[in-house]
């Protein structure tokens, strides 16, 4: 399971990096969203998967799942939401001002 999820995360990172390198702002924002998905999965994997019960004390179990990655991911989810929201509004404003969503055009490069 761990290896499979790690490979899935790797694929998502590949997709995210490809999207980040493109010229359209929307694709870049999507890229950053996918990247945070990948990172959440990776964090999850680090604590080991499906080993022990839900980290709620009082559950009848001799072992709990690692709670630390979960806490980290919870923070990360919220932060990545904030980043996405900010980037979206930034893209919206940029489009209002410049009439373009193409980073290359914004820099004044002529099209290839």
């Amino acid at each position: 399971m761990e290896t499979l999820i790690t490979i899935l995360a790797g694929v998502l990172v590949t997709v995210a990096v490809y999207l980040l390198l493109s010229r359209s702002i929307i694709r870049i924002i999507l890229g950053s969203a996918v990247l945070s998905h990948a990172v959440h999965l990776l964090l999850m994997v680090m604590g080991g998967l499906k080993k022990g019960s839900v980290p709620l004390l009082g559950e009848v179990s001799d072992r709990y799942t690692d709670a630390l990655p979960q806490a980290l991911i919870l923070t990360a989810i919220v932060i990545s939401f904030a980043v996405t929201a900010f980037l979206l509004v930034l893209a919206y404003r940029t489009y209002q001002e410049t009439g373009s969503d193409d980073l290359r055009e914004m820099r004044g490069f002529t099209d290839e």
Binding site: H37, M46, K50, L56
Partner: protein, 801 residues
């Protein structure tokens, strides 16, 4: 004793109160400031008898003990001399500047900078720990920068400030490297401990590099050739600053450093030659160039360079005393150090007085150009007297203190002929010759100051103001210095016994008898070679001065004309141009390029490390089992992810992103993370809604019009980054170097009273993180709000247009 440590901090503390005093009594502020150096001076004077009795006073408190950095202050004969100069000349300079600067200037800035300098300079001379010394050293450079640029509306001031900053700070950084090398050798940052231990390390590979780097710091600060070029440009500072920083104290920090480190590096041939040759050449070059100056302050600047070279060369010669332990020979060479210390004090008195005189002339005649000045003797009798005393002392004439130290200087230079080690041979004769020639030029420019300013025809039509004598208050400070010049001549051994001898023991801690072995200073020592050299200086100097107009044109020919200044300016503008070109090449402002740099460096460093370390540990034995529906979920996510690259419709793209997000939520359920699953579902829903909302305002995602090569590059980078991340993640899981710390949190109920471990981590164990996370959300919220809000205003304005 805490007194010395306090002495460093009092000026800094006082600087804090300057602005409020300035608000209260803007025109009287100088008088309040004057109290500080005066009090410090008096408290230092009270130490003189104890230090003369052989006592040293030190006080330590821990600063960064883990890095061997202790705030140790140390008072011995050497630091006492400098401490007295800093506070004594400081008091006089502040008294003088009360009259020099009008209330229209931003006095509060001026005094804050000046106090900052005073504290930093005291820190330099009282610190025993090299790191602490370095911090104060750079602080003096910074305050000097601020003071030179005091009239920052002038282009020349800004240029001079930048130049001094660049040169002295680069020297300071070199010095820091030298200190670190010393630490690498001896394991101590304490100068005294280094002096005690260095004997075992003189053959260490780092010994000479450390020495050269420390000397670079000293030479840049003390304006030694070829780093002297910053000092003439520093004359753009107000005259009190020139008198204080750029003649009496800061430029002597380099000399202090050389004196202090003689105990460490002295006795080595490289040190001996570098210090003495650079010094003697600077003496010659400075005095030679001073003669051609027409601006009195520029003349004094070159004269300071030359005099600093004189003191420097004496310290170089004096270091020979450490070559072979205590003997009659070493006493002979140590005499050079004795002369150096004496001249150091004398220079501060007569040069301080001369700077103040030039300031008075500048202020009351409207110019400091010697070609326009003349005949001021009758108009400014007091100023003239002080100028006469200062100049004649500088020229080395009796009955002024400069005569005594100049004679000692000649004698010391003559002893080099007898030097039998360091394979000096017959080259030693060059030292007295250069010294003598330099002294002739010194005589000539000293005469220029007196005669061209105060004698000759008065030309009122060429002056900007009607010349008149300065007010009484302004004359007090230079008069005190002038009196000292004469007093030291008649009572030289008061200075010698109470200040110089204790300083000798401080410079030569390994030769405890050396201070007592110094000859006492004699006003008349009979006709010897040194005296005849002085007579020669006077005769030839006078002839040269009389024939000045015939040979002055020599400065316009050939190699004398192009100076090091053009080299500096050229190098600076070349560096600016090339860095602009270079920066513009890679800072394109295009996000894709920056991301490529980031990913590229990540790939090179991490993949490189993995290859270097060799072998990535994989261990799949610990994996848990996989069910069929989990396979389906993973497969679905991979397809959704890869599809995102190819879709052209933005709604499809956001839906695919939603697929990813909700699948992850399902995984969180499977992986026993209920909190995460809940959060993920909520956030994913809001995000998708937000995307759709924004898409209403944004254009359709166009098919990427990117050339094929660029696409391939992107794909390659993406695949390599993805692979590398996977490999690293697998390697991390494969190795088990540390125990998990998560067991700790399973005590959550006892520690916090909560049963949900994730919640207790967020709300209790790491509550600060959570609080800051909320701050991030808050900031993002403000950002979003501002961006939306800004628009309406801007649009409103557009409509008006």
């Amino acid at each position: 004793m805490l007194t010395i440590t306090l002495a460093i901090f009092i000026p800094f503390l006082a600087a804090l109160f300057v602005p409020s005093i300035y608000k209260w009594k803007p025109d009287k502020i100088g008088w309040f400031i004057l109290i500080i150096p005066l009090v410090l001076f008096i408290s230092l004077v009270r130490f003189i008898p104890r230090v003369a009795g052989g006592e040293t006073i030190s006080h330590t408190f821990d600063w960064i003990p883990s890095a061997n950095i202790y705030f140790t202050t140390y008072l011995d004969g050497l630091s006492l001399i400098f401490g007295l100069l800093i506070t004594g000349v400081g008091s006089l300079v502040i008294l003088y500047s009360i009259y020099y600067l009008t209330a229209r200037e931003s006095l509060s800035h001026f005094y804050v900078y000046l106090l900052m300098f005073m504290g930093a300079m005291l820190g330099v001379v009282f610190s025993d720990n090299m790191m602490v010394l370095y911090v104060f050293w750079e602080l003096t450079s910074i305050s000097s920068f601020l003071l030179i640029a005091f009239w920052y509306h002038r282009k020349q001031s800004r240029y001079g400030a930048q130049k001094s900053m660049l040169i002295t700070v680069s020297g300071g950084v070199a010095m820091l490297a030298g200190f670190i090398m010393l630490y690498a050798m001896t394991g101590s940052f304490s100068i005294r401990e280094n002096i005690a231990m260095i004997g075992e390390f003189t053959n260490h590979a780092l010994f000479v590099p450390a020495m050269i780097l420390v000397l670079l710091g000293a030479f840049t600060k003390s304006a030694q050739f070829p780093f002297h070029i910053w000092l003439p440009d520093a004359m753009e500072a107000p005259t009190p600053v020139s008198a204080y920083l750029h003649s009496a104290t800061m430029v002597k920090a380099g000399i202090y450093l050389v004196a202090r480190f003689t105990g460490i590096f002295g006795g080595d041939a490289v040190w001996f030659y570098t210090v003495s040759i650079v010094g003697i050449f600077t003496l010659f070059w400075g005095s030679f160039n001073a003669v051609r100056q027409t601006d009195l302050k520029a003349l004094l600047a070159y004269s300071t360079i030359s005099q600093l070279g004189l003191v420097m060369s004496l310290f170089g010669l004096g270091s020979a005393a450490l070559h072979e332990g205590y003997s009659d020979q070493s006493v002979l060479y140590a005499q050079a150090t004795f002369a150096a210390l004496f001249h150091l004090i004398n220079h501060s008195t007569f040069k301080g007085a001369l700077f103040m005189v030039v300031g008075i002339v500048d202020l009351n005649a409207g110019t400091r150009d010697v070609r326009r000045l003349g005949g001021l003797m009758a108009l400014m009798p007091v100023t003239f007297t002080i100028a006469l005393i200062g100049s004649f002392s500088m020229a080395g004439l009796p009955p002024f203190n400069g005569f005594l130290s100049k004679e000692m200087f000649f004698e010391a230079m003559l002893t080099v002929r007898h030097l039998e080690f360091f394979s000096i041979g017959s080259w030693g004769i060059l030292f007295p010759i250069l010294a003598w020639v330099g002294s002739i030029f010194t005589f000539v420019y000293s005469m220029i100051i007196v005669f061209q300013t105060f004698f000759g025809a008065h030309q009122p039509e060429r002056l900007d103001r009607e010349a008149h004598e300065a007010p009484m208050g302004m004359l007090i400070a230079p008069s005190i210095l002038g009196l000292l010049v004469v007093a030291v001549f008649f009572f030289p051994n008061v200075v010698g016994d109470y200040l110089l001898r204790p300083a000798m023991s401080a410079i030569y801690p390994s030769l405890p008898n050396i201070a007592g072995a110094m000859k006492s200073i004699k006003i008349w020592h009979g006709p010897n070679l040194a005296l005849w050299m002085t007579v020669g200086v006077v005769v030839i100097g006078f002839l040269l001065y009389a024939s000045l107009k015939y040979w002055r044109s020599m400065y316009k020919v050939g190699p004398f004309r192009w100076g090091l200044d053009s080299v500096y300016n050229g190098a600076l503008s070349m560096m600016e141009r090339s860095s602009t070109v270079l920066t513009n090449r890679y800072m394109t402002g295009y996000l894709r390029h920056y991301l490529i740099y980031i990913f590229g460096i990540f790939l090179i460093l991490t993949a490189g490390t993995l290859v270097l370390v060799g072998g990535v540990p994989f261990d799949f034995s610990n994996d848990s089992s996989i069910t069929v529906n989990e396979y389906i979920l993973v497969f679905g996510m991979m397809v959704a992810g890869v599809l995102m690259i190819f879709v052209s419709s933005r709604v499809t793209a956001i839906l695919l992103n939603g697929v990813l997000g909700y699948s992850i939520a399902l995984f969180f359920v499977i992986f026993r993370a209920p909190d995460l699953a809940l959060t993920q579902i909520v956030i994913e829903t809001v995000t998708t809604a937000l995307f759709l909302l924004c898409f209403y305002f944004l254009p359709e995602v166009k098919k990427e019009r990117v050339k094929r090569p660029a696409k391939i590059v992107n794909l390659l980078i993406a695949i390599s980054v993805g692979t590398l991340v996977t490999v690293i993640a697998l390697a991390v899981q494969g190795s088990n170097m540390f125990d998990s710390i998560s067991i700790y949190f399973e005590n959550a109920y006892e520690l916090t009273g909560g049963k949900n471990i994730v919640n207790t981590i967020l709300g209790d164990f790491r509550a600060f993180d959570t609080m800051l996370e909320v701050v991030v959300l808050f900031i993002a919220g403000i950002g979003v709000y501002t961006l939306v809000k800004l628009k309406s205003r801007k649009e409103g304005r557009d409509v008006e247009d």
